[in-house]
């Protein structure tokens, strides 16, 4: 009797241990599920945050939607999982999400040690410092002895430590795990400076009670190329995600927007015809519908539209294109040819 009870207990424990969603390759899993599970930030306005009604909006959110459009032709076939900085990589590694579009910095150790593949960069960023104007500080070199709010376990923390060590300055960290809590602590005055990627600082400032009272110091102390990431192992899926990002950049290079894409279908340019699938070939080699790029531009827009809609100068973040402009305009956005 006791043995039976033990067996039942073990069996029960095994059964409670989860949804046995046996996955094959990533793309097959996604196709079988009928939607893509994307990991996003959840607390950064402009990149990945639900609005007051609970609809997800942001640059990374739009990238994830574009991937869904590429695979399924439908921007609604995507579900969002908000992840903290601690959980983001383990969620991708374990299979809880299919793609990570969570303003994650591509680094050597992350590519090699965590078993992830970063695709093309969708936002070139750098780390900066946000400080209240009342303190009268004009440069990061004046921050000796400051108390700085920072997320633990991120490259942000390490970069700040390196910067202060290089410049022989001392500082006191205040580390809180949640982005929202950290911002709240900064605005309450617990620390003098908030450090993070400059885009996140702009986002944090945008939803503050008094955005005009804070400035981002001019020194950008690191390179933060933010790119979506997928797991090692499925090259086809990786290519799809990669070229989804590049398609939006390429569309802007070619002057195709969501408004004129239908007109562009009739274009005589062979480059545009190949890109939009009028001349078939690209879709087939990726394993997608030939109109994949057309669908992306029509439903989501090109890179410039996505940028302006989420983080551009007319939004409360008010960010200039800067490094994220096209290479023809002095920025770094450069797409390989689509042929």
């Amino acid at each position: 009797m006791k043995l039976t009870k033990i067996l039942v207990l073990v069996l029960g424990l095994c059964l409670t241990l989860g949804t046995f969603a046996y996955a094959g390759k990533d793309l097959d899993t996604v196709r079988a599920k009928g939607y893509i599970q994307a990991g996003v930030n959840g607390s950064v306005f402009g990149f990945g945050m639900p609005d007051a009604k609970g609809n997800w909006a942001g640059l990374d959110v739009d990238t994830a939607r574009a991937i869904a459009v590429a695979i399924f032709g439908d921007a609604s076939k995507v579900k969002f999982t908000p992840l903290s900085a601690q959980q983001r990589f383990t969620a991708l590694q374990s299979g809880e999400i299919d793609v990570l579009t969570r303003n994650a910095t591509q680094t050597l150790s992350r590519e090699t040690q965590l078993g992830l593949n970063f695709v093309s960069v969708n936002y070139y960023d750098g780390q900066g410092f946000l400080i209240s104007k009342k303190l009268g500080v004009k440069s990061a070199k004046e921050l000796d002895g400051a108390t700085i709010c920072v997320l633990p376990g991120t490259t942000t923390e390490q970069n700040a430590a390196d910067y202060f060590r290089t410049n022989n300055m001392s500082w006191k960290p205040v580390v809180i795990e949640s982005t929202a809590e950290l911002a709240k602590t900064f605005f309450a005055g617990r620390c003098d400076v908030l450090t993070s990627d400059a885009s996140q600082l702009a986002a944090t400032r945008a939803i503050a009670a008094d955005p005009k009272g804070y400035i981002i110091l001019p020194e950008i102390i690191s390179k933060e190329p933010l790119a979506p990431a997928v797991r090692h192992g499925d090259d086809q899926f990786r290519d799809i995600v990669d070229f989804t990002v590049l398609a939006m950049i390429n569309a802007e290079e070619l002057g195709i927007t969501s408004k004129n894409v239908d007109k562009m279908l009739k274009s005589k340019s062979p480059v545009i015809q190949r890109f939009l699938g009028v001349s078939p070939g690209n879709g087939k080699s990726l394993g997608l519908d030939e109109k994949w790029a057309y669908n992306i531009i029509k439903q989501i827009g090109n890179y410039g539209e996505v940028f302006e809609r989420n983080v551009g100068v007319n939004t409360s973040l008010g960010l200039e294109r800067g490094l994220n402009a096209l290479w023809t305009n002095g920025g770094l956005m450069y797409s390989p040819p689509f042929k």
């Binding site: 989860g18 383990t90 795990e177 009670a209």
Partner: protein, 363 residues
């Protein structure tokens, strides 16, 4: 006897300063010079602290206003609660489906109140609990009877707190009983396994088990198998609680007189029959008060899932406070939450005390 004698024999009342309000004051507050001094000091302290608190909380406060109106007042901004009430209590549960978690909570609380009467402690009650928990799970996840499916990632707020504590307790209880029996077993292997498990789990903080389950579980399972986050936290809570229940049940088993075991042996009952029919019913009855104490601890400990980013009622409150409109009113929101917890916990702890008194005199 004359009237006068009868009058003289009339009862003498006690001195007026020993009865009524004055008498009570004298014995309880001013009995010695030391006590009188203490009373004055305490009254002084209360007079210093209570009026400003009262002023802040009730007179200068706003109860249901907008965020901007709150910035102009000196007192408490209680409006942070009614404005965000749905989010604090229900979290991310989809719009229009609120009746499901509310019904689930009502059923659970109804059953808890029903179970308080000792006269109702029968086997049918155990079945009722099991059915109720299944119904709660179904209501929350949906998928049948036309209710749309709601992922566990959207279970948040008070329903999540209640689910984690009650499901955790219910699953952990049988496990704890097995561990207690195993620890008292004469078989060395089983005994060692149980002792090692119990001592290890009782020696580490719950937060380390939560970390273990949320970060390490995905590594323990083969590629492609995933567990959802709520289940991970639930497993950690179950493993943790089972060890504490095991110790409590072991105390109950130790309190059983040897005569019971000997009588069972003399009737020819084997181990399982002895446990099932004689020992466990009595031992479990003895340990019900401390078990309610453990349920109380589990209920309070569910707040720790904040640290692994699950949205229980504490985390939803914190998210509300990170909204820039309502940041700065942490005191009010936390006081409301503290009252909520206090109501539940005080009910459970006073019930446990009452039960202990009843069971004690019943013996």
């Amino acid at each position: 006897m004359t009237e006068a004698t009868t009058a003289k024999r009339a009862q003498l009342q006690p001195p007026s300063s020993n009865v009524g309000v004055v008498g009570w004051l004298k014995t309880n507050l001013f009995s010695t010079w030391y006590n009188s001094l203490l009373t004055f000091i305490l009254l002084g302290m209360l007079a210093l602290t209570l009026p400003p608190v009262f002023q802040w909380a009730f007179i200068d406060s706003l109860w249901n206003s907008s965020a901007e109106a709150c910035r102009n007042i000196e007192g408490a901004c209680w409006s942070v609660v009614p404005h965000n009430f749905r989010f604090i209590i229900l979290g991310f549960f989809p719009e229009g489906q609120e009746w499901r978690p509310i019904l689930a909570m009502v059923l659970l609380l109804g059953l808890v109140i029903y179970s308080k009467e000792r006269s109702r402690w029968k086997k049918s009650l155990a079945w009722l609990w099991l059915i109720n928990l299944i119904v709660m799970g179904t209501l929350m996840s949906g998928g049948v009877l036309g209710m749309p499916v709601v992922e566990t990632s959207q279970w948040s707020g008070l329903p999540l707190t209640l689910i984690l504590s009650f499901f955790g307790m219910v699953v952990a209880y049988p496990m704890g009983i097995f561990l207690a029996l195993g620890r008292r077993s004469k078989m060395p292997a089983i005994k060692t396994l149980c002792v090692v498990y119990i001592e290890m789990i009782r020696g580490v903080p719950l937060i380390s088990l939560l970390f273990m389950s949320s970060i390490m579980f995905p590594l323990f399972l083969p590629e492609g198998v995933t567990i959802d986050k709520v289940l991970r936290a639930l497993v950690a809570i179950i493993l943790f609680t089972a060890a504490y229940i095991a110790e409590v049940v072991r105390g109950g088993l130790q309190a059983m007189p040897r005569g019971q075991y000997e009588a069972a042996d003399s009737l020819g009952l084997n181990y399982y029959q002895t446990m099932r029919l004689i020992i466990l019913p009595q031992a479990l009855k003895i340990v019900i008060p401390p078990s309610v104490g453990i349920l109380l601890s589990v209920f309070k400990d569910t707040s720790l899932v904040v640290i692994i980013a699950l949205f229980d009622v504490l985390k939803t409150t914190m998210v509300t406070l990170s909204n820039p409109d309502w940041a700065g009113y942490s005191k009010e929101a936390y006081i409301f939450l503290a009252l909520l917890y206090f109501v539940f916990c005080y009910a459970m702890s006073s019930y446990s005390r009452r039960l202990e008194k009843e069971l004690h005199t019943g013996h």
